[in-house]
């Protein structure tokens, strides 16, 4: 089956204003991501990786250009449309895990599902159990995040990102705060999920050693794509 275009960026630009100085973060970015792809964006610090992820995840808005997700322009969504987009289409894995410290592992993974009105408690429970199973943390479901290691916390974050069955999972330097062994385990987990469930991943990192298994690598430098 031919892969369809999930995400398309056309001449996307983003400039930041630091005092009176304009700093161009992204410059005429053109990019297509197909369904089921595992794409890695590699670049040094300041290359614009995080800015690109933020724009795709609708956490920020571009100054120019167009971002199409399943044909819908997400460049300037209203608050309600953005909430719907983030909940139903996107899963985030953050560098700092961003787990809610007062909730258990189970409750953290369940969070995105609570927004879905027609999901029963049993359905939520089954979904969370499936997610935790896939990351190997079902036995830790009652633990609090501060009782877990860094790698375990990131697995919980991945489980949370999976829970609402998103079309695209955005992982912004998910291994930056982990040791190399744990970092490789996390990358392998993401790759396994991609192969097993044909999930689309957009993963960014500054560490080229992590990307040996990855088929598609985009090099970003000074806000422009060097090669794809």
């Amino acid at each position: 089956m031919a892969a369809s275009t999930l995400l398309e960026l056309n001449d996307v630009e983003k400039t930041y204003l630091l005092g009176e100085v304009k700093v161009p973060a992204l410059s005429k970015i053109n990019l297509k991501i197909n369904t089921g792809e595992f794409t890695t964006i590699i670049g040094p610090s300041g290359s614009g990786k995080t800015t690109l992820m933020n724009l795709i995840g609708s956490l920020d808005t571009p100054d120019a250009g167009q971002i199409l997700f399943e044909g819908l322009d997400i460049s300037n969504l209203t608050n309600n449309r953005r909430s719907e987009y983030l909940n139903k289409k996107i899963g985030f894995v953050f560098q700092s895990f961003n787990l809610i410290p007062v909730l258990s592992v189970f409750e953290n993974v369940e969070l995105p599902l609570l927004v879905i009105e027609k999901m029963s408690a049993q359905e939520r429970h089954d979904r969370v159990a499936w997610c935790l199973d896939n990351v190997g943390l079902f036995d830790f479901k009652n633990y609090r995040p501060d009782q877990l290691s860094g790698g375990q916390r990131q697995r919980v974050a991945i489980a949370r990102a999976l829970s609402n069955h998103p079309k695209l999972i955005l992982a912004d330097e998910p291994t930056a705060n982990l040791d190399s062994k744990t970092a490789h385990q996390i990358i392998n987990l993401l790759l396994d999920l991609n192969e097993k469930y044909n999930l689309t991943f957009l993963f960014c990192s500054h560490d080229e050693k992590l990307i040996k298994r990855v088929r598609r690598v985009i090099h970003l430098s000074d806000g422009s794509i060097l090669n794809d």
């Binding site: 309600n80 909940n87 953050f94 700092s96 961003n98 809610i100 909730l103 995040p145």
Partner: protein
């Protein structure tokens, strides 16, 4: 989802137990202070209200001739004739379900003569049946008992079909009749002299066998109470200055007033008007004292309530600032801004509700202690020495709770607005609260 928000809010409060405890304590202190104040105001209002209605014989509704504010200039002109009294009482029968009893009052300016000396007095002549029912009314007895050292009694019978007159201790003192107990009479004979309503000189003999207190500072040196028939003999009339209607508890006063005025206008066009006891015209002591109390109450409400709410908001704002990353995470998971704000509103709600519950129990304890200590003071317009009494009930606690909780919740909403309006990327880049 509401369960999760409550869980998030509740556990958020437990994150910093010391801060939460201090914030709760601030709320409790504010609530207790306001409830004690409200309890005192409520009790005083109860006392003044029953004084105005029953003790001062105004009733809930007073009917007078239109223009009766000029009564003292031309009493005969504004006198309600006996025929009119009977006609009005007959028309009022349609409200029998609401009326407990009806009285008449005749006001007379005269002079009391004792021991060859003459003293100016203002006489209130009451219909005896109504006077007895009012002065022994359970509401009056209950509200005054334990609040003032003085508990009123009706006019005292001298012999069959005759009662004595009553004067104030101050008038008694002016007349040179000094007793150890200013409330207990020695009875004495006196005479009331003056012009009747047709300007003829008249006099009647009376027995003064009772003392009474009045809340009107002006009237303390001049007030005489007696039965209306004696007052009518003095003035040579058979009418009354006013008709006083005493209502049953459950009646809506404003509605009854409107109905009465409609009836009076219909049956006696342009002749009579009905007024509530709680107006300046009928009970200036009541309105004056209550206005003062309410102003003080509102002042302290603003000061105490405002201070407490602002300090809680300050703590909440700090808490929100510390959890910007958490707010960003929830928004990035698809939660709407309103849903995220709800979490912090729930925090304020939990804190406030807890504070109200504990504060109510503490208020009951403090009220009990204060009431048992029996502190005394002499308030303006008082019937002698008063005890400080606090009356606290569930309804009062509920009103004070609403007054404190509602602004807190509304301001909590606005306090979270600023953070949730920020761009997601800025919220998520603050990692202070993240794990």
């Amino acid at each position: 989802m509401t369960n999760t928000f409550f869980r998030l809010a509740y556990r958020g409060l437990l994150r910093n137990k010391k801060r939460t405890a201090l914030t709760a304590l601030a709320f409790i202190i504010g609530y207790v202070g306001l409830l004690i104040l409200a309890g005192y105001t409520y009790r005083v209002n109860n006392v003044l209200l029953n004084q105005a209605i029953y003790l001062n014989m105004n009733g809930h509704i007073r009917i007078q001739k239109i223009g009766a504010e000029n009564y003292w200039a031309a009493p005969l002109k504004y006198l309600i004739s006996q025929d009119h009294i009977l006609a009005i009482i007959k028309e009022l029968q349609i409200f029998d379900d609401n009326i407990e009893f009806v009285g008449e009052k005749l006001k007379v300016a005269s002079q009391i003569v004792y021991d060859d000396k003459t003293y100016p007095v203002f006489i209130d002549g009451y219909s005896l049946n109504a006077e007895k029912r009012a002065r022994t009314h359970p509401k009056l007895q209950q509200s005054l008992s334990g609040f003032f050292s003085y508990v009123p009694t009706p006019l005292i019978q001298t012999k069959v079909n005759s009662v004595g007159a009553s004067i104030t201790p101050e008038l008694s003192h002016i007349m040179g009749i000094v007793t150890r107990d200013p409330i207990a009479p020695p009875a004495f004979d006196a005479q009331l002299v003056g012009l009747d309503f047709e300007s003829n000189l008249n006099a009647i003999d009376i027995i003064v066998n009772r003392r009474h207190l009045t809340s009107s500072a002006f009237m303390r040196n001049y007030s005489v109470e007696m039965d209306i028939e004696s007052a009518r003999r003095l003035t040579n009339v058979d009418g009354a200055s006013e008709i006083n209607i005493f209502l049953k508890s459950e009646v809506n006063l404003n509605q009854f007033l409107n109905n009465t005025n409609d009836l009076l206008e219909k049956k006696f066009p342009q002749q009579f008007k009905a007024e509530l006891f709680s107006t300046d015209e009928v009970s200036p002591e009541y309105t004056g004292n209550m206005s003062f109390l309410m102003v003080m109450m509102v002042f302290f409400l603003i000061i105490i309530g405002g201070s407490v709410i602002l300090s809680i908001l300050n703590v909440l704002t700090m808490s929100i600032m510390e959890r910007k990353s958490e707010i960003g995470t929830l928004l990035s998971l698809g939660y709407s801004k309103f849903q995220v704000r709800k979490i912090f509103i729930y925090e304020s709600f939990i804190l406030g509700t807890f504070g109200i519950f504990i504060g109510y129990i503490i208020s009951l304890f403090f009220a009990s202690v204060i009431n048992n200590l029996e502190f005394t003071f002499t308030p303006p317009g008082a019937l002698g020495v008063a005890f400080i009494r606090i009356d606290i009930n569930i309804l009062l606690g509920f009103y004070i709770a609403i007054i404190m909780l509602l602004p807190l919740l509304i301001l909590s909403y606005f306090a979270t607005c600023k953070q949730t309006q920020k761009k997601l990327v800025h919220l998520l880049n603050d990692n202070e609260g993240g794990t």
